[in-house]
Symmetry: C2
Subunit: 188 residues, 2 copies
């Protein structure tokens, strides 16, 4: 297989397109993030990379709380809007219906099918970005995204961010069941 070296690049597929929420100067603000991943299971934790210039960062550091909101594909315009325009310039507090949970200062987007309410447990300075690690203290899911009491990815209908192409995509065809398909064949 012919390989091409591209130099150090932030190339990963897929990436999520989520909305990071924080309370800044008494109002909810949201930024779009693709650089987000689960970090641990006990306690449940999530990481998200935030540039120091981001308005959202002010709220994350002031309150030590934030939210990760998983949008459905029908919210794509609002998701992209929150990535283009900074809270330093525009007031994003009225774009969504907002609720609050036990932490009081992590704004939860009601339209998003999944909300992770987070308490900052680490803020790692990586130069261009601060990598926030948040303990997930509560998870909220829209009731209509459950099938037999379990979260149904097809009903969540999340947005995928495809880097380089700069496109948002939906989930596609199921190609196999995890912890099963690998048992079928002797792959060695």
């Amino acid at each position: 297989m012919k390989k091409v070296k591209l130099g150090p690049q932030t190339l990963l597929y897929p990436m999520p397109a989520v909305l990071v929420g924080a309370q800044v100067k008494g109002k909810p603000n949201f930024m779009t993030a693709a650089w987000c991943g689960i970090a641990a299971s006990t306690p449940p934790a999530v990481s998200v990379a935030v540039r120091p210039v981001r308005y959202t960062l002010d709220g994350m550091t002031a309150n030590n709380t934030f939210s990760i909101n998983v949008p459905s594909a029908d919210l794509v315009e609002k998701v992209d809007y929150c990535g283009i325009y900074s809270g330093h310039k525009v007031d994003k507090s009225q774009i969504f219906q907002v609720g609050y949970g036990k932490l009081k200062t992590a704004p939860l987007i009601q339209e998003c099918p999944i909300n992770l309410e987070c308490k900052v447990i680490h803020a790692l300075d990586l130069s261009s970005h601060i990598l926030f690690v948040g303990e997930i203290v509560e998870t909220y899911v829209n009731a209509d995204c459950l099938t037999e009491d379990k979260v149904d990815p097809a009903k969540v209908d999340p947005l995928i961010y495809s880097t380089v192409a700069r496109e948002y995509q939906r989930l596609g065809k199921v190609v196999g069941r995890a912890w099963e398909i690998g048992k079928k064949t002797d792959v060695r």
Copy 2:
């Protein structure tokens, strides 16, 4: 919108399904990971959560190097195999064609369309998992995954891991262009 509280859960959509590579006792080993995300741009960095019991962790800590390999959907059986079976029990060194780059100890899967060669810059103890942050020192892409010299997500054909449902999925329909579709409408 009726919300259901699920308690603290590691719920994020989409997650990637990548193969983490490390050199353990002189041989390449690979583990499947969904808890992986980009962490910074300068220097380019990636994070991945690894349980202390993992065989791969031995190589990551011994050499301070690892690789993130983005598989295409046709590798789904091997990807799942590497998630099910531990290097403590089976020898995974012969599953893939393996190359090495400038770090010498980060095994790069030749069949995977994208390889990130990484040097450990942080290992954050999060109790259940160690969150490794690796500086991406080189990126390798299969030549046939480029369109006009740019990485083409459709040609990469990556695997998405859908948690709870425990399914691997492919990329689906494009729903919008990032940094564009949010400009079209006054979303407020």
